[in-house]
Symmetry: C3
Subunit: 127 residues, 3 copies
């Protein structure tokens, strides 16, 4: 159910986007109980100018390696769970792909369970 | 007022994206009372790797023909109306464009009426 | 904290997207108290067919110069503040970049404060 959009600038190695997507998926599996195979991701590599950001904000400095991750998911996770998710995504993108932890910016958008159809025109979560 | 984002992989016939957008618009007109001409759509064809998904989820199997549709719209539609919308979109994309019903994945994001400006810097729905 | 997505068709002068982004950022600073350097924007120039819209809606007519702006931000701004934001964005895009006021379409998506991580895997706004 999470729909994930990952945006970054061109210049990363071949396959970077898919690997980043898998890391986000595994982090959601591990921290916020996302079901197996619940993986719907749009990954966009942008030409120069495709991301516009400040040099730093709240103590984090940003480089051209900024990775913007926006996740639409069902409402209801606690603040603690969201914190675990952020920590896991930033840590794993750093450890596995060399992304600077500061360059991982995450936005969550929460929706209700009946707001999804995963194929066949059915609202699978609507009960 | 619905802002619709449609994402799919390159390889579809010329004009596929616009036709898919029109089908989504007509489905919203028919099922959830979207006003005439309330049509604001971003349609993106992605290179290989631009979508990342599992082979199947909850009984639907996905192909390279996956069509991801995210709709931002005013809150307040009933679960029944949302179900009608999903069914109509998947059915019409299948009937008119040959998209596999299983490949139609839909996400709704609900907002309040004052969250829109349709031009001229005015909040047309704010009353 | 606002994550801003700006979508428009190719054909604008070099640097248009970044300038539009800066105008949106300054408008948010001036009208809805967005902090300095809180600027996270995805700017996408689309090929023909990348935007699908009606010729007009609610009295605004649209051209190929349509600029679609979707802003994810913390909930809580009043209707009056949102109206000020719309007016400022449309006015400044017109005055500084020659965008037709009618061609400025804005969508807001509101989220809660703990829904952001601005780097380092931390929920900076969660308190």
């Amino acid at each position: 159910m999470p729909l994930v959009r990952i945006d970054f600038l061109k210049g990363r190695p071949e396959g970077f986007g898919k690997m980043a997507g898998e890391i986000v998926y595994e982090a959601m599996r591990a921290t916020i109980s996302v079901p197996e195979n619940d993986k719907f991701q749009v990954i966009t590599e942008h030409p120069p100018g495709g991301l516009n950001h400040a040099d730093s904000y709240l103590g984090a400095s940003y480089s051209d390696g900024l990775v913007l991750i926006q996740i639409t998911l069902n409402a209801g996770r606690t603040v603690e769970l969201k914190k675990s998710l952020y920590q896991r995504i930033a840590g794993d993108l750093h450890a596995m792909l060399g992304v600077r932890r500061e360059d991982v910016v995450i936005s969550l958008v929460e929706v209700s369970r009946e707001n999804w159809s995963f194929g066949n025109g059915v609202a699978q979560y609507a009960g």
